[in-house]
């Protein structure tokens, strides 16, 4: 036996339409769905029904119950949304204690570089800044009388102590203490006796070194071309050209085409056999490549910074522009 509850439902709809306050809706809810509500009363009929009828009736009663619940809860949620509030919150007011902290663009650039090189298997190593002539020059195949020392205007703090002119000294120390194979990157501060709008007496460098069996020039190119693409986030026009460093042979410089002009961004090459000998690695068994680049240079290109001095003035208005970068 099925029963038609259409009139009951339409009556409910009418009642709901007429009321608006949460209180009224609550009353309607208990009138229909309460312990002794209309729906419960209808359910009582089940007791009197035969087994066959029970099946049919049960089904339609459940549909009724669901329908009633649905209608009431819909009305309730509508009413809640439109509930009057004395002072609605103004979500456009400022948030509290907003942090405007930021990493320094140099650190951000170092992090970006080390995370790319890290993927290629390079591990970060740091070292001392006040070095001796052996680790900064001699071990790197730069004898005292060599004109190449002109490329490094060196700050001295005593007769044989100097401020490192490159982080290659860290590579020397790493090779001496860890032997081959190794794959390291050495970010850090370096110093040269030079100051003008494009040179700073202190700046940052990162160098990479890979020593293993059967490392050749194509591997050097592989790391650097991929690195440049990843760092700038797009394919860049690049070129390698022969250059000269006492510690690499062959030596190269990598230029990128930037706004129509070739810009030198890094120096690199295959580690010179004399350097390997100086750190007691047999160049007959191992070969390697090395590269070094200036962090400021890359940061300037990436962030359109034109004045090198901005990096060390630490004006908060400059620094906070790098908010959100890591």
């Amino acid at each position: 036996m099925s029963k038609n509850y259409t009139s009951l439902i339409s009556e409910l709809r009418e009642k709901l339409k007429k009321c608006s306050s949460l209180h009224d809706i609550a009353n309607i809810k208990s009138f229909y769905l309460g312990k002794n509500g209309i729906v419960s009363i209808e359910f009582n009929e089940l007791k009197n029904a035969s087994i066959d009828e029970k099946k049919e009736l049960g089904k339609s009663l459940n549909i009724l119950k669901n329908q009633v619940q649905e209608l009431i809860s819909l009305k309730l949620s509508q009413a809640q949304e439109t509930k009057d509030v004395d002072y609605p919150i103004d979500v456009t007011l400022p948030g509290k204690n907003i942090s405007s902290g930021s990493r320094h663009p140099i650190s951000i650039t170092i992090n970006q570089i080390t995370s790319i090189l890290g993927k290629y298997g390079f591990t970060s190593v740091s070292g001392i800044e006040i070095e001796d002539e052996f680790h900064n020059f001699e071990a790197l195949n730069i004898p005292d009388t060599h004109p190449a020392r002109d490329m490094h205007d060196t700050f001295y703090v005593s007769d044989n102590k100097l401020l490192r002119t490159h982080t290659s000294s860290v590579q020397i120390r790493s090779m001496l203490s860890n032997k081959a194979p190794l794959k390291i990157m050495t970010p850090g501060k370096v110093y040269r006796c030079d100051s003008d709008p494009t040179h700073s007496p202190m700046f940052h460098q990162i160098e990479g070194l890979c020593i293993d069996k059967d490392i050749n020039f194509c591997h050097l190119k592989g790391v650097l071309t991929n690195f440049i693409t990843e760092f700038f986030g797009r394919d860049m026009e690049i070129r390698f050209r022969p250059s000269y460093f006492p510690f690499t042979e062959p030596s190269a410089e990598l230029d990128i085409k930037f706004r129509g002009k070739w810009l030198e961004v890094l120096g690199c090459g295959m580690v010179h056999p004399n350097v390997l000998t100086n750190v007691k690695i047999n160049f007959k068994n191992f070969s390697g490549f090395a590269f070094g680049l200036g962090i400021e240079r890359l940061a300037m290109l990436k962030y359109d910074i034109v004045d090198l001095r901005m990096f060390y003035e630490n004006d908060i208005s400059f620094l906070s522009q790098f908010k959100g970068l890591k």
Binding site: K96, M151, C193, K221
Partner: protein, 672 residues
């Protein structure tokens, strides 16, 4: 080096387009950094690396590019000279000049004007025209790389000596300067006085003028290291010294004179002439050396198979006279190449002619590495500080002279022997100067709300002369908590903001009053400890130091010794109790001198059952009510059991124990 492109083209006749040619030069390692059109010519500027002295001339550049055009260069015309029986040298110090030539010419007419094309090429290369003879010498230097010097023989007393200067000798040079010579200055002298600092500059006294009739033209090979030392001593670099210190072809000096003679005779009246030449058997170490290169070294180093014929061709044009054996190439080092010593050097020669851009790029990532990656402590703490609103700064490691004399021992300060300026003449011994300098800079630009940090090194010298470097993370706060906050939410930053930030970064820190750091004020100074080890200091910078940086704003400073910090990189999970917590407050009145930390230490949790935490909840002073030497402290206690729900009575018993302890130990008066 600036040179005329048209001139260069005379020796590389197949050049099609300037742009392509310039790219070719760059791809060989002779980077053209700029080009300027002058009339029908183009002057190109080549950035020459210090190893390529052989390319400091038109012929040198032409020779270097000849493998690309597969044409051997022809030397320009000259007049063969034969060494005279009697030379005009009284002595030649071999250490200075292993090969020395002089052409003496009589009755030359030097009053004629220098030909226009020659003048143009000289000025294009940045060389001033002087008079005909001097111009010809410079012209030939640009052409083949041999610097030469002419003396007026009629002003030159007696024979020529090449020697080191004697004590107290002086020379007034062509540039108008008087140089005081030392015993390691190489000079060319007549029988009385030095007439030139060898390889660098001549004397004004014997210089050739338009009226000179009889002359000496000196053309020599000078030992590069000696010229370099002398040029450095006098801080004087000339076109000649620039070439000599890098290495002029030791076998070139005689030919250069032959070429000069040809040009002189072409343009002016020349009388009798004779050549004096003196040379040791082996003029320079590299001459005559041969190098054997295993054939497979090229592929092993370069990663690409390069044909034997390409290697042979390349080395032939560059002057290496290569021979191929079964498994190797044998080459003779040419006299103009000082930079070729090892097989690897020849690999570079072949590679640059092959073109660096023609090699593949191969990314090999998975190689074994003897050095394992470590987590970067600095980076980790930096990020935590940034999240709490700090801006990272980076300052110079240098500070002004005497900037730290008040807080460091003089013997510890590292001074730079050759500073770039007075304000960058000492290495910082602590971070305080860097941090305050950054604060001062920002305050003067009205950036008054600061939260900054810098991680960097400090440098100290020790009694035994040893130098140490320490990794420090330092910073400062000043101003209000956040500018963006509404007025009602703004607060002046205090010592406790700083402390809060530090504890958020490193949870297990403790702070104790301190007064032994000179650059921090005695009245607001704390030592920072981790597990009872000192790891840093904080507080207000001393007023004298603030004055030094013109700082009037209130600043709180901190510094942490990164190498001493124990980085927490592991924890062990503790079981969490599911039973409810009970919270109790206790307000007591104690003597002002009793520190908050003493109270918390006294009620240490292991002394009492169920107590899992205690903290200072409130503190206030009220002179009228408590008197000026008492303060009111509220401590909050949390109790919880891991096995069952606590009942009030259990907690009451513990609270009574606590109260009794505080009353007996600190004469606390209970206020609630």
């Amino acid at each position: 080096m600036k040179i005329s492109l048209n001139w260069l083209k005379e020796y590389v006749p197949d050049i099609k387009k300037n742009d392509i040619f310039i790219e070719e030069l760059t791809s060989l390692g002779l980077e053209v950094s700029s080009q300027v059109k002058i009339k029908k010519d183009t002057i190109i500027d080549i950035d020459m690396t210090p190893n390529r002295a052989d390319c400091l001339s038109i012929l040198g550049v032409a020779r270097d590019i000849s493998p690309l055009y597969k044409k051997k260069i022809c030397l320009p015309k000259s007049i063969k000279l034969i060494k005279a029986k009697n030379n005009i040298f009284s002595m030649i110090e071999r250490g200075i000049s292993p090969s020395y030539s002089v052409l003496s010419i009589q009755n030359i007419d030097n009053s004629i004007p220098t030909p226009e094309f020659m003048k143009q090429r000289l000025t294009g290369s940045g060389i001033k025209t002087v008079n005909f003879i001097v111009d010809v010498l410079n012209y030939v230097m640009l052409e083949n790389g041999q610097p030469m010097h002419a003396f007026d023989k009629d002003k030159f007393n007696g024979p020529i000596s090449v020697r080191f200067a004697k004590k107290n000798e002086k020379m007034s040079a062509l540039d108008g300067q008087v140089y005081r010579l030392t015993t390691d200055t190489p000079v060319i002298s007549d029988s009385k006085n030095p007439q030139a600092i060898a390889g660098i500059i001549g004397s004004g006294d014997t210089a050739v003028s338009v009226n000179s009739k009889n002359i000496f033209i000196e053309s020599a090979y000078f030992t590069p290291t000696i010229i370099r030392r002398s040029s450095k001593n006098f801080r004087l670099q000339t076109d000649a010294s620039y070439r000599f210190e890098r290495g002029v072809d030791p076998l070139l000096n005689k030919y250069a004179l032959e070429r000069v003679l040809f040009i002189l005779k072409e343009h002016t009246k020349v009388g009798n002439y004779s050549l004096s030449h003196s040379s040791v058997p082996k003029v320079a170490k590299h001459i005559g050396n041969s190098i054997s290169v295993e054939s497979d070294l090229f592929q092993r180093s370069l990663g690409v198979k390069i044909t034997n014929s390409f290697i042979m061709q390349t080395l032939k044009y560059l002057g290496f006279n290569p021979k191929k054996n079964k498994s190797s190439f044998v080459v003779k080092v040419p006299s103009h190449r000082f930079d070729i010593q090892l097989p690897q050097d020849l690999v570079e020669e072949v590679a640059r002619v092959y073109g660096y851009n023609n090699f593949k790029s191969v990314l090999a990532v998975n190689s074994f590495n003897n050095i394992q990656a470590k987590s970067d402590k600095n980076d980790y703490y930096s990020d935590l500080l940034v999240a709490r609103g700090y801006n990272e700064t980076i300052s110079f490691s240098f500070i002004p002279s005497d900037g730290q004399i008040n807080h460091m021992q003089k013997s510890q300060i590292i001074k730079i022997i050759n500073p770039i300026s007075e304000d960058k003449s000492e290495m910082r011994g602590s971070m305080i100067n860097s941090i305050l300098s950054t604060c001062g800079y920002n305050f003067s630009r009205n950036n008054n709300n600061l939260k900054i940090f810098e991680s960097g090194k400090t440098y100290k010298k020790h009694r035994d002369g040893k130098v140490t470097e320490e990794n420090i993370l330092a910073g400062a706060i000043s101003g209000i908590n956040s500018e963006q906050n509404l007025k009602t939410d703004q607060n002046e930053l205090s010592f406790f903001d700083l402390k809060g930030d530090l504890i958020s970064m490193l949870p297990n820190l403790s702070f104790e009053a301190n007064d032994n750091i000179k650059y921090i004020s005695k009245t607001c100074q704390a030592v920072i400890k981790q597990n009872n080890q000192i790891i840093g200091y904080c507080g207000e910078p001393s007023s004298s130091l603030c004055q030094q940086y013109s700082i009037k704003n209130k600043v709180y400073y901190y510094e942490l010794m990164m190498d001493k910090i124990i980085h927490i990189d592991n924890v062990k999970y503790k079981k969490i109790s599911v039973f409810p917590k009970i919270k109790r407050d206790l307000t007591i009145l104690v003597d002002n001198k009793i520190l908050a930390s003493e109270i918390i230490d006294a009620v240490e949790r292991k002394l009492f059952n169920y107590m899992i935490n205690s903290k200072i909840n409130d503190i206030f002073y009220n002179k009228a009510e408590f008197g000026k030497d008492k303060k009111s402290i509220t401590v909050e206690f949390i109790f919880q059991d891991s096995l069952r729900t606590l009942i009030d009575n259990q907690v009451n018993v513990e609270m009574e124990k606590i109260t009794n302890l505080l009353m007996s130990k600190y004469k606390a008066i209970i206020r609630t």
